[in-house]
Each structure stands twice: as structure tokens, then as C-alpha cells.
Amino acid sequence: MTKSSRRFNIDRDVAPWTGATRPYDIAKEVAICFLVIGLLTVGLSVLFSSPDDPAVTLKQWAVSTPIDFATTAATELDGTGGTAGYGPPYNTAADGPMVLGISPAKIAGVHIPVDAAKDFVLSPVAALPENPVASQAIATYEAASVEQRQTWAANYDAAVTASTVTTAGGKVIVAPGDYGPVATIVDQLVAMAQSGALDTTMLTQQRFFSTDFTKPLLFISDGSFLANKAAIDHLQGDQWGMMNETGSWPGQAWLWLYTMWYQVPGLSTSDNADLQVFLIIIGLTLLLAFLPFIPGLRSIPRWTRVYKVIWKDHYRNM
């Protein structure tokens, strides 16, 4: 069908306007808009300012909750830690979320390699200068078989999460057991973090200049410290956290539709939720974009008759 013979569809086509025109000053309208937005922005900024909670450090984490810190280090060694078991793009420990048996993350592959045990625990401790205790422990650990390391790390992991664990002067005290060098390695890492040295080591591990915080951020988010602080500020995923902001400032309110799906039963507990929610949002966005071509959906404006309010002067004068 050619354009001219196509049937008129009221939700798609319009007859050209041949009616009256009226004077209109676009430049003035835009100028006034700038003034209004400018004044509103200044007014809101004076009244409400903006939030700025300082970034947290590995040091704060190790000082305020050494047991959580030591537990996280142990889980990176025994492979049960968040990053250690993450999968792509960091490592091959898992496949990533799947839909219909397909894991896009796995297809994309490992592009930001992170070896949690080595990068978060072993390398920093090995780099401690003039520390024979630390280098001896690392040497013993590396000389042992994979199974032996695993046994030590798992034993320590169990001990540091047991109710008998205590702290003394910032040091984590676990019940005696078969930990090999793991207890020493973790103790060294805790002390290193408490001194602040781990914060710089993890960044400069890479090179002098670094703007990439992947490793320290992954490590700190594997513990409970960051999440507990976020929960106080109602920022957790199941608290609609995605659209909130520290304090009571408005955050990314426009993400309401995205974060809503994480509250829906079924999705809120699904292991594949991240991918499922993403696909739902992609689908909805495509629906919105192609709405002008979707029969039924594109008739909603006509059925709801809101247009009669918008153009009420026009209809009154007809």
C-alpha cells in the first residue's frame, strides 16, 4: 500500500491543520524556563543541600569489625567468599545468572580477572616488608597441596564464625585448631588493614596511578560491614535501595520500575533475578519506544480522554 491510499487511522494519522494560528514567542518561553529552573535549583540547594557520606575504608572495616573482616578473608581463601565464587567477568568459579539455560555473562567471558585468595589476602600479606612471620606463613601456605590449603582455610572459616570467637586489642582470637599458616596470614592481614596499609597496597598493587577500585570494592562488599552501613540508610536492594540516597534526599526515583521487580515474590528470591529483571526492563523499554506502532496500546490516550482536558480551549472554541 502506498502512503496516500493507506486508511486513516486516528491513533496514527492526523489531518493537516488548516485552522487559525496565534502569536507565540518560543525564545521568550525558553528564557523564562531557564530563569524558573535556575531559581528553583538555587532555592532547593539552599534549603536542602546535598548528602556526602565519606567513603569507607578497609581500615575502618578492620578496626570496627575485625571478626567480619577475618571471616571475609577466610572465605576468600576457602572459595566460599562472594568474589571467590562469583564467576564471570571476574573468574570461572560459577556461570553467572541464566535464563533459558543461557548465561550472557559466561558467553562474554572473564575480562576483569580477580583471584580473590591471591589478590585480597595472599599478595598483600606477602608484600609486607621485613616481616619474617608473614613471609614464613605465606611460604608454608604456598608449599602445601591444594587440598591441605583448603582444609586449613575451611577449618579457620568454621572457627572464626563459631560463637567462641573473641577479639583482644583488635586481634581476632579463635579456638585452637588445625589452621596451618592460615590463622597467621589472616592475623597479618587484619593488622595490615587496621594500620591503613591495605587500602594503599590494594590500589597500588596495580601501578602507581590507579583509578580502578575493582579489587578493594569487591573485597569490602564481600563482608557485612558495607551492607550493614547501607541498611541503616535504607539502601539495601530489598528496601527499594536502588532509588534511595543516603540520608533522606531523593535518589534515583526514576528507577522505581526497575527496583520494583526486585520486591516481587519469586523474583525477590530468584538466583537469576538480576538477569530476569534486566530482561523485563529491556522488554518494557522496547514497548515504550515502539508504542506508536502497537495497536491497542497506542489507543489508550484516546480512550482515557485526558486529551480533552489538555486541549479544552481548542474544543470549546470549535
Binding site: 525558553v30 557520606d53 543516603t246
Partner: protein, 210 residues
Amino acid sequence: MTTATDKNWTRSLRKAGESAFPPERLLPDTQPSYVASWIYVFGALTMAALGVVTATGLVLAVMGPTWWHHSSTGHFINSMHLWSVELFFFAMVVHLWGKFFMAAWRGNRALTWITGVVSFVVSIGTAFTGYLSQTNFDSQWIATQAKDGINSTGGGAVFNVLNFGQMLMWHITLLPIGVGAIVVFHVLLVRRRGVVPPFELSGAKEEVAQ
């Protein structure tokens, strides 16, 4: 003779530009009589908010990403940046719903609607990378949370939300250029097509004139 002139690319380009955008269409001083509702102002308000967002963002860029933590002027500029963003999204969402209820895609205006949706999506990406560029607790938290969603799509392989340098680049160059270009295209389309007429109340079926 005429074929020779038609082969001049420059002349053809100028002619195409002139016929698509004669000055009185680009900047008209009259509008059809139905253009009389406060809802029409929200497109211009969105544009103005985008202007204030850009201006305050430029100031933050001049002084560097951590300036605002230790300067009260910087903090105020940051507040302006945040609040103009909130106004920008508010105005854009009202604009979107306004255009929806006017079915403003009618009469060859589908591309205007689509570029609007694209500008909405790209703006969300820009705001998101902005939150990652704050260099404070909020950016730490948002980065560690958002990584799972993005990694699940495979996008994490190239778009690493934990890499501050990369996110800052996206926030202050790539995405703003994207939003700006789409908005220019969007507004030119509006000028090209003119403002959509109201529904005919009779609902009479007619042949499409053209």
C-alpha cells in the same frame, strides 16, 4: 546545465537544509491555535534543566572530582547539580506523560517519540554514572550493588562499574555528548513536523492527505 548544478554536493546539502528548516519553521513566531496549555512548557523546562545540569557539571569538572568534599562552594555547586538533575527528570517525566496522553506520535511523529524514549534511557545512564562518580560512600554502595545487574547481562565485561576512572569518563564525556546529540535531533524533529494537532472529535475516517 541543471544536472551540473545538482551534482554539487554542497549546494544539494544547503538546499536540503533550507527546505527542511526554513528559518520561520526553525524559530516560528506563531503556533496553531491549539498550542495553548501549560503541558507544552515541559519540553522547554526539560531543556532548561538540562542546561543547568550541564553548567553546574562543567564547574565541577573544572575543579576536579573530589573538590566538592572539602570546599563549601564546591558542595553548593554539587547541590545545584543534584537538584537540577531532579528537576530535569521531573520535567521530563511530566513531558513524557503529556506527550503520551496527546498521542503526540501521530502524523509521522513516531521518530520524535522514539528519540524521546532514547533520551530518557541515556539520561538514566548518565545519572547512574554520576552517582558512581561522587567518590563517597554512596558511590561505593551503588557500584557494588549495580555490578551484579550489569554483570548478569555480560555487559560487565566491558563496562566495569567498579572502575572509577572509566565511570567518570562515561559520566562527563560520552553520555552527556549522547544526551546532547539526541536532544538536538529530537527538538529539530519537533520543529520539522510542527506540533501535533488535537484528535478530531468526530473521529471521522478520512484518507490521509499527502
